[in-house]
Amino acid sequence: MFEKSLGDLIKGIRAHKRDEAEYIARCMEEIKTELRTTNPKLKSQAVLKLTYLYMLGYDVSWAAFQFVECMSLPKFSHKRIGYLAASLTFDESTDVILLTTNLLKKELNSPNPFECCLALNTLANIVTEDLARDVVADVLRLTDHSDPTVRKRATLSLFRIFLEFPDALRPSFAAIQERMKEENPSVACAAVNVVCELARKNPKNYLGLAPVFYRILTSSANNWMLIKVMKLVGVLCPLEPRLSKKLVKPVSNIMNNTSAKSLLYESIVTVSNGMMEHEQIVQLALSKLGEFLSAKDQNLRYLALVAIGNFQRTSLALVAPFRSAILSCLDDPDRTIRLRALDIVTGMISQDNLVDIIQLIVNHIRTTDGAFRNTLVEKVVQACCQGTYVHVTDFAWYISVLADLAVVPNNVHGVLIRDELINVAVRVKGVRNVAVATSLRLLGDERLYRAQTEQANACQVLHAAAFICGEFGTAEDIESVTIRSARSHQTSQLLHGNSALLRLQMLRVRKRRELLGEIGKYSVRIVGSWRCIGIA
């Protein structure tokens, strides 16, 4: 029988572009047969083909047991494929993971360091609570192995083990601390990595390690380690003010001397997260931030905006000097940068500058492209209604803004604007006449009648306009609209349908008022008659 290798399978798939699914189904059947073989080479090739199909999106969980069988093959190049398949496809629900326990223990205790590494790698990907409990002792022993590639893997895999089996942490912690002091940079890095990840989850428990982090920040030359520790410091400092005081000097040193932009950036972020009480370092961080913001490199400009967002959370005044640079970012060709700039700009809003900032954004809406335009519309409304309109002082102005937003082309926020118009008109008595005037204008606006697809539902605003006119308008207002809509929109069936709907809505609203009025009069008469006959 001619069995296909992985290469043959791939070539076959490329040759069957039009009937790929059928071809793959046939191959799956072949693989099912091949998996029953005792020939290790064929078996491992079949498993390898399945991992490839998994990448393409095909379910291979039915073969989990065969993957375990493959993991137990004697030859390294064959069992390695089983381990790869397990790493990629096993998850919490894979029950055969239990079967791998003894297999893994055997590999972890193998004299061959490559086999240890293989087991550690797969373990890090598939470990469950039971598996963790069974192997943690073996893994701990490996953290002291003579071969550094084994030591670093064993140390790093401990993190995933602790995640599943937290009880293992306390007895193992000493071993991790030992590894942090190692000469070999890869192993030390792995240990620092584990500690930093653990500390992010439970920062208070790791304040005791502060001296170790101080030592690393002042003496290490390894950028990866420095970055990890720097990020952690940003998490720890808010919990312990004395710590931030002690670390001001080393962090400033790093900011002034490092040539690695990554480390510099993380230092700036750390200052914004945990060292805001120290004037000098804040100023240093802000000046470095300014350099990032004016860099030609898009990546640095984006990251500068992220950091500014951080500083803004503590103090609006600090980011004021960057205002014009941020505003120009609203025009950037890069959507990622525009979104960040928008976030910062809306974060700057207060009662004094609401009108100016909203005007700025509305101007951008006119000049920008489709999808971003909708984001801007939504942001404007959100910014105005936040804190139940805490920043809005002039609701007549807000209604005019809503009216402007309603007619933005391809607007998907028709429902949002509709609800806002009604909300304001109902709640704010003083602007009802403005609301009515605006609604009359909107009812006469052609653009709204045309916008009634899924993607552009600005016609929803017409319902709000009709409601407002009906509820708060005078009879003449309603009459003028009905005539206007009847006269100008007779040509299109669609428009007819819409204007009929609006008339009906307005009439309904008016009728309801009249009806309520009638009921009121009627109930007065009834109560009156009850009084006559002595009931009420």
Binding site: L6, G7, I10, L48, T51, Y52, Y54, M55, G57, Y58, D59, F76, S77, R80, I81, L84, L88, D91, E92, F114, L120, N121, L123, A124, N125, T149, K152, R153, L156, S157, F159, R160, P185, S186, C189, A190, N193, V194, C196, E197, R200, N223, W224, I227, K231, K261, S262, Y265, E266, Q298, N299, R301, Y302, P333, D334, R335, T336, I337, L339, R340
Partner: protein, 157 residues
Amino acid sequence: MIKGVLVFNNTGKPRLTAFYEHLPIAEQQRVIRETFSVVSKRPNSLCNFVEDPSIWGDDCKIIYRHYATLYFVVFADDSESELAVLDLIQVFVESLDRCFENVCELDLIFHYEKAMYVLDEIIMGGMVLETNQQKIAQSLQAQGKIDGDRILSRARV
């Protein structure tokens, strides 16, 4: 932690996928499709970062690099540094280049499991394992020798 690594080509076909935070298959394919959709629209002059919580939740930075016909994408959470991850992608591609002379998409297509073994030297279980080019190549070379693997044993140290 690193949630996942994807490599796909200019038409969105996956060439290498590693999900360190497990997702069901349908979700994996959705992430691949949606990421491709976002990233392929971005010209190379824009920054290498994308923020889109609808793809893989809120705590997920999407960092990518475009080399010729391939996109290399890394999904990381807040504990990773964006610029450091960009460097890491570079390290990965360099390591591939040391194994496959002038690595190209065809190499990844026909030897995807070798590319996975290279990635396994750099990222393990979602954590960064090694960033030193020399050490990665040495380890691959040694593995290649005991494995009888022609490609990995050729890794340029």
